[in-house]
Symmetry: C4
Subunit: 271 residues, 4 copies
């Protein structure tokens, strides 16, 4: 699967095939967002692509960052599969989910996940929404997601499950407006991750690197926890105190794995 | 595995090796079906190859489409592994499973899966038959396949299990004639998917894209549901109402993932 | 993993690196076995490499064929990882496990698996020994391996578990002499597959294609059966009658998947 | 995933991108350790990269070897993802974990795992520390890791679980000083492998090949044992006597798989 996506990316770059059969004048890359450091945009691109490469994101899902100079705006790709996102696809949105300069580009229906979390959580600088395959079973189970090892220490703070049905009855499960986004942000509270019943999960963090790191290790943790549960008996999870300490260390050494991931994405492009 | 298939495809194209050791004058590609839009043929090819790339199809299985102008005919590849299907391999069949212009080409033994479903279900425009690895355990289990998340919302309509033994006793398990195909179509009823005991599954839809999407997400759902069941307790599946609404949304945004899959297949060919 | 092995193969061919750090004048390829059809040798090579590519074989395991004109001899590679086997590595052995023309080449310690089965089973024309990862759990479990679907219909004949400890006490688990091989062949009886406790499995067949097909689908079946068992309740396996009929059909259509596998191996070499 | 890492490696070599965004004058490769045979250094590189390729190591983890002529020193990479380690990245340390000639290079925080095991176990010539995904569930379970087949026979000697909390209370889970390393080495005793609760595992051996072989098969065994446990009933593990005998044989034939792994790593570099 990963090789395929690598080739997809390469083809996109070489032959401009990114939107085969779907490209319209009104939905095309429109160049970089003015006034934003390229490094931040690059983190969004790297995060989107590496999570697609790991299978955490499939054709859907998105990575965003709070605007570095305007905390009431955020940056996110136009509607596009995460494996295909480039710097020129990033758009700017306000906290009502309106595109600042749409130029006819399609936008993600579920941008309200992002806008409402940025509104409710001033400490959050980046948000990832995924249909993380490892996590889905925990979104419909009574078994709470808990940290099996230090890499996913942030889970020790708790990972609640939000159920759209509680406030909105039977829906298409999507966070398609601000009202739904607000209840999601409320359920997230001060946690780093929230599970969405029958849908996926959201991770947040003080940087794109942190939110992406958490999206990845939430998925890994879920898979490993499922195996630990299947062995029988109650697994010995990290304690809350261990979680706080190990997460602090993870945030310090995050560049070692982030740089490896940047190389993976560079390799995808070179292939 | 995926890389291998990509290379297989590339070799096929570059060196004409598609039928190494088996090619005979009487079983060779014979050019496009006259009078059928190339885009529809391309959807069949894309669906065959991407499902092989995902491991939903192995050396067996097939994707078909109802003929766009003659509803009593359908289009399907000659007998060939799905990873190798090209536009020139597509043949036309009537609803008795007879090839319209066989020219000596080998045809799939199980084409009656398709012919009888097209006969029984005027709304169905495409059919996929797979030995989907994730799904096989559910074909022999008392646990019904149910939707764990919105991507597989179509499963909320129910996914019955058909057992060939009920009407035909001990067989080689294959749908090798119209009589068997009729009981399968009857068991399918108005559902989008049916499981075949000890064999595989069939998904149908209003387009090739939809049937392929459902084949893929039926497999993914089965794997995730098995993990949810293993966690213990009763998982909280999508309700029928949620299923209807989420499936409608999926059908609207299907091009986003279909275009990604087209790029995957294009990359396979370019490799 | 698969890509790596493909590259390994390519490097081997291009740069003669096959025996990096281990090659000695006394253990090198020695050219084809005289008087044996190249197609049979190619089947052994294809089977070795495709099973390595699928992960059924790792650095160990072997594929052999009975000599086409001398039924008291068989053909098997010199001691070499299956992913690296070429036509020039195939040697000829008698039924005592002696190499006919050793020329100093290293031979597999466990060649007695093959020699004693060829001695006991005149109908067997090919043997595969694997440490098949899917199968290992069944070699140490009370749960018998049974056919979950038609592709592995041959399992309906039964897949006994042989335990070396029963006759030989605590050993290193290997079939390192003819006496051990004889008890394994006795336990195999007239079946197509036998499991070896804490070690692996052996599949046999009327051709290399059949033995390799069975090695592959034994592994796949084991993985799928484990998932079916984990769902709870007793799965509905193929009946013995279904097994006989479906296996007969499989043997008829085996070329479709074999040709796909030949293309995979050709692609590995071309990469 | 593997393909990606292969490309990463290739890019590193071709374009010098190894430290994209993180390279500083004070943390760069500094050439080979003087007075150490290149073959030993190559074993460390091969082990690091092949374990990363197999997913046993991710962005973290490390492989070390005791210095061949000074038993009070050991060799280990500077702080770098294992997939990226080259001969020029290997540094020399004393048994207090001090770098002999740091030249400003970053060093692994957890080097005390290695230093204290070399101090306590004169027979140990190599150490691997991994966050082995298959193993993590066993580090938090009451189910002990036991050998399911001959390849992991070394586990018959026992694989204890060390819990940092027992002596150090709530920590960030890391072996960040000599005192913690000493309790780990004490818990290891005379075993070949120790599990670390909520963290990972350590394997040791009489050579780099042996320690890497054990790291790989500890991971494989854990995955297969989990499947055997899930089948229900008590699996029939290798006995201690079988473990001793099979491990002795494994150590004799280890070059067959090591040479395959060397080819994999060579292929990664060539890609």
């Amino acid at each position: 699967m990963l090789t395929r996506l690598g080739l997809v990316v390469a083809l996109t770059v070489l032959f401009g095939l990114a939107e085969v059969g779907a490209q319209t004048p009104s939905n095309a890359p429109a160049g970089p967002v003015p006034g934003v450091d390229a490094a931040l945009i690059d983190d969004i691109v790297t995060g989107s692509r590496v999570l697609a490469d790991f299978g955490v994101l499939d054709g859907f899902g998105h990575v965003s960052a709070r605007h570095p100079t305007n905390p009431n705006h955020f940056l996110m790709a136009r509607s596009l599969a995460p494996a295909l996102v480039t710097a020129d696809d990033i758009m700017e949105f306000d906290l009502d989910g309106n595109a600042v300069d749409p130029r006819g580009r399609s936008v993600f229906l579920e941008r309200f996940i992002h806008s409402e979390i940025y509104r409710a959580r001033p400490d959050v600088m980046a948000v990832v929404h995924a249909h993380s395959p490892g996590v889905i079973p925990f979104t419909i189970s009574q078994v709470p997601l808990r940290p099996v090892y230090h890499n996913s220490a942030f889970l020790a703070a708790g990972a609640p499950v939000w159920d759209i049905r509680q406030d909105f009855g039977e829906t298409d499960m999507l966070v398609r407006n601000a009202a739904i986004g607000k209840t999601l942000a409320l359920a997230l509270g001060d946690k780093p991750v929230i599970l969405m019943r029958g849908h996926g999960d959201v991770t947040v963090g003080p940087s794109v690197k942190a939110a992406v790191f958490r999206a990845y290790y939430t998925d890994v943790n879920a898979r490993l926890q499922a195996q630990a549960v299947a062995l029988g008996g109650e697994p010995e999870y990290l304690t809350p105190g261990e979680g706080v300490k190990a997460d602090a260390t993870n945030m310090i050494v995050i560049d070692r794995i982030w740089n490896l991931w940047k190389l993976r994405v560079a390799a995808l492009l070179a292939k």
